[in-house]
């Protein structure tokens, strides 16, 4: 067992040549009611051509981590209190605002959950895509329009040329999310962060959008960070999964390992609560209790009040995220026992 290092890190301390690394990130929200510790030391990374799924329930901090990486966190009330976000080894949190702006869109781009509110309602979809070519690449209006239509074509929007001058509200939900994808990919980013890209869509459209994302990711060899609470979506596309709970990564593993042998009771609970066809008619299984109040996280392991395996040590000591095997890590005092049981 190596010292507190995330899986895959070589432990030598020098820049590892990774594309995007989040390193011990800490974020809190200072509100009138108190300080909410939303991110408490999150570490993950993504490489070119790789898909990392960040899994967690609402309030686990998965979106806030992404917003911090992207630099679109509302500050205040948000404050980054520690850690680094390195892109090509360079810490983005200490960069100048201008340097950071240039990374957005070109280095790291983002797709949002609700495409209707994420697209500007008063400009045409085409304008919003072409705008990037004009402002960031200095293209003429005509060239930018041509490129924007190409992008709409790439995300398989029928009649891309005609759709160029439509407004967001004239698109269906699925088409709008495709347009959103086209917009995020316009500047050919190296990393794409997709924040629950299919949550607002119905199930058949969800599958189409995920397929499209996967296809574009392979074509462009992008690093993809897929933020979701949907275990079903993750299984198909992710290479690795990071499970978040109360602002921490509690387990990180290869997708097959995680489904086969979860190494954290929370992951186990999540997998157990997937509705199963062979248990039709029975009550759905849930994880008892509620996620902790982030203004008052319980001492010890934040999951201990809900954990069926909790022991006295869990109430005293925060389990660090430790490597427990090739490419997997868990933040549970009893991770080895969990993995080794039958």
């Amino acid at each position: 067992m190596s010292e507190q290092s995330a899986p895959g890190a070589d432990g030598s301390g020098r820049p590892s040549g990774r594309l995007l690394e989040v390193d011990d990130l800490r974020v809190e929200f200072r509100t009138r009611d108190g300080v909410a510790k939303v991110i408490n030391g999150v570490t993950y990374h993504v490489d070119a051509g790789e898909t990392l799924a960040v899994l967690g329930e609402s309030g686990s901090g998965k979106s806030v981590t992404a917003q911090t990486v992207m630099g679109i966190l509302d500050m205040p009330p948000g404050f980054v209190t520690g850690g680094q976000v390195r892109f090509h080894g360079k810490d983005m949190l200490t960069m100048s605002a201008e340097e950071r702006r240039r990374i957005r869109g070109e280095g790291i781009a983002m797709i949002f959950q609700d495409s209707l509110s994420a697209l500007n309602p008063v400009f045409t979809v085409g304008f919003q895509i072409a705008e990037q070519f004009r402002i960031r690449r200095g293209m003429s209006r005509a060239d930018a329009k041509k490129r924007a239509i190409e992008m709409l074509d790439q995300v398989k929007i029928p009649n891309a040329k005609g759709r160029f001058s439509n407004y967001p509200h004239q698109f269906s939900g699925g088409m709008r999310q495709r347009a959103m994808i086209a917009m995020s990919l316009a500047l050919d980013p190296e990393v794409l962060i997709a924040d629950e890209p299919t949550t607002a869509l119905d199930v058949t459209v969800q599958a189409q959008i995920m397929d499209l994302l996967g296809e574009l990711q392979r074509e462009r060899r992008m690093g993809l960070i897929l933020i979701t609470h949907d275990l079903g979506v993750v299984a198909d596309v992710a290479d690795r999964i990071a499970v978040m709970y109360a602002g921490r990564i509690v387990e990180e593993a290869d997708v097959y390992d995680l489904y086969a042998k979860p190494a954290h009771p929370y992951t186990l609970g999540l997998l157990d609560s997937i509705p199963r066809l062979d248990e039709k008619g029975q009550q759905l299984r849930t994880i008892k209790g509620l996620p902790p109040n982030l203004m008052n996280i319980p001492p010890g392991c934040p999951f201990n009040p809900r954990c069926p395996m909790a022991q006295p040590v869990c109430r005293e000591k925060i389990p660090p995220l430790l490597q427990i095997g090739a490419g997997r890590a868990s933040a549970c005092h009893f991770a080895e026992e969990l993995v080794n049981r039958d």
């Binding site: 679109i72 702006r101 990374i103 869109g105 949002f112 500007n120 309602p121 402002i135 509200h169």
Partner: protein
Amino acid sequence: MGRYLVRRLLQLVPVFLGTTFLIYWLVWSVPGDPFAGKCGEKPCPDAYVATMTAKYHLDENVFVQYAMYMKNLLQGDFGTTYSGLSINDIIATAYPNTLKLAVVALTIEAVIGLTAGVLSGLRRNGFLDNLVLVSTLFLIALPVFVVGFVLQWLFGVQWGIVRPTVSSAMPFSELIIPGFVLGSASMAYIARVARTSIAENRRADYVRTAIAKGLPMRRVVGVHLLRNSLIPVVTLLGTDLGALMGGAIVTEGIFGINGIGRQVYRSIVTKESATVVSIVVVLVLVYLLMNLLVDLLYAALDPRIRYE
């Protein structure tokens, strides 16, 4: 859009007839004798009163009088005053002056109000925000004549930067202070509405998207945020032109401008009902057309608003 425009223009007809009749009837109901004091110390001779009554159809009921007035109006004739002056001439000299003043006021309030509102909306609770909040509160609370006399005294008398009153040629440079005075209260409202609108939309998802696209901040604010925040401001500005013209009477009085405010006041005092009605009728037209313009602007600003 074309059909919508035609329908809206047709709607103007009953609104126009209704408002003008109301005004006509109101002025007609004002008690008093139009010929009192017209003939020096003595009351006017009966023969004169009889002639004038016949000439201006004063013995007819209000509907007939209104109908005759409208008939002339549709031919472009506002009629004459009791002393025989053409009301068309009065309007032709007074209206441009007031319009000029109102346009200057509108420009000043739009530019200063919008700038102050946007800057304070972006930095809520900052120094500038508090400055704007306090100063707008002052402008809203102070009556126009106080702002007018204070500025006239400061700039015109104390510092001597401008002429205290506006000369009859009405050059724009002399209209800046009166325009500011006239538009001051509306300017404060515009700043406050723009501030709220900007602050509300500042956290909108599409603003976040625009930032995530790596656009420079001035484009995020100047294009994406501003366009969405302008609708309430445009409503205020559009309906304000009429209000500025109608409310210019105090400002015109302070700065000695020969505008409609002064004419209306004089006409009311001398019971020149035709002049009062004529000036107000033109004002009604300004209101109606500006309202139409605002509605059309909505559609231009927000594509989700479409008129059939």
